[in-house]
Amino acid sequence: MVIKIVTDVDLNEAYQYLQAPGAGGIDLFVGTVRDHAKGKKVVKLVFEAYAPMALKEMQKIAEAAQQQWPLEKLVMLHAVGEKLVGEPVVIIGVASAHRDAAFSACRFLIDELKKTVPIWKKEFYEDNSVWVNAHP
């Protein structure tokens, strides 16, 4: 199990960690910076993390996934700092003997990450910027 908060997330690095002779299915989710949000043009994102706690929370989610599905390997990489349109910000990867578990676990991991892991995203539009989810 590899869990990291880094400046740049890398797909090849993630894929490397997912190698296992018993794995037949690997699902990789890559979250990237989209050029629009809520009808506005997005220029860039800035991510900030409370790193020690974020790593702990990611670890908890990963353990929950491992209890629920038979996983060979698991990787969670999240970027911090400034990210431009098209750049990857988060990579979740799961290797399992069968694809069912890989898809389900990967989906679970990204959904839970978004709910509990102390990482914050500021969206910069052409005219202003907003901390995502901060206000109702």
Binding site: K114, P118, A134
Partner: protein
């Protein structure tokens, strides 16, 4: 007590840490939340506010003690 600030709470307070010096000791997470809400009305407008003690989510009843690492956790938005 010094608390760690992130994201919008860092901007509301204007710094990445806040030194909390209450008139009366804050004994629980709930009391700290009330103290903050009184001083920073903008905090009350957030969708939610959690407190982490020693990098774990802590509920309102959680006791505060010297030497803990305390952090404000505004609504998360990773991924």
């Amino acid at each position: 007590m010094e608390i760690l600030l992130f994201g919008i709470t860092r901007e509301i307070v204007g710094g990445s840490t806040l030194t909390v010096e209450p008139e009366q000791p804050l004994e629980t997470v709930g009391q700290l939340k009330n103290w903050l809400a009184d001083r920073y009305p903008a905090i009350k407008k957030l969708s939610s506010l959690a407190i982490a003690v020693d990098s774990e989510y802590a509920d309102d009843a959680h006791p505060l003690a010297p030497g803990q690492e305390v952090a404000l956790i505004p609504p998360v938005s990773g991924g």
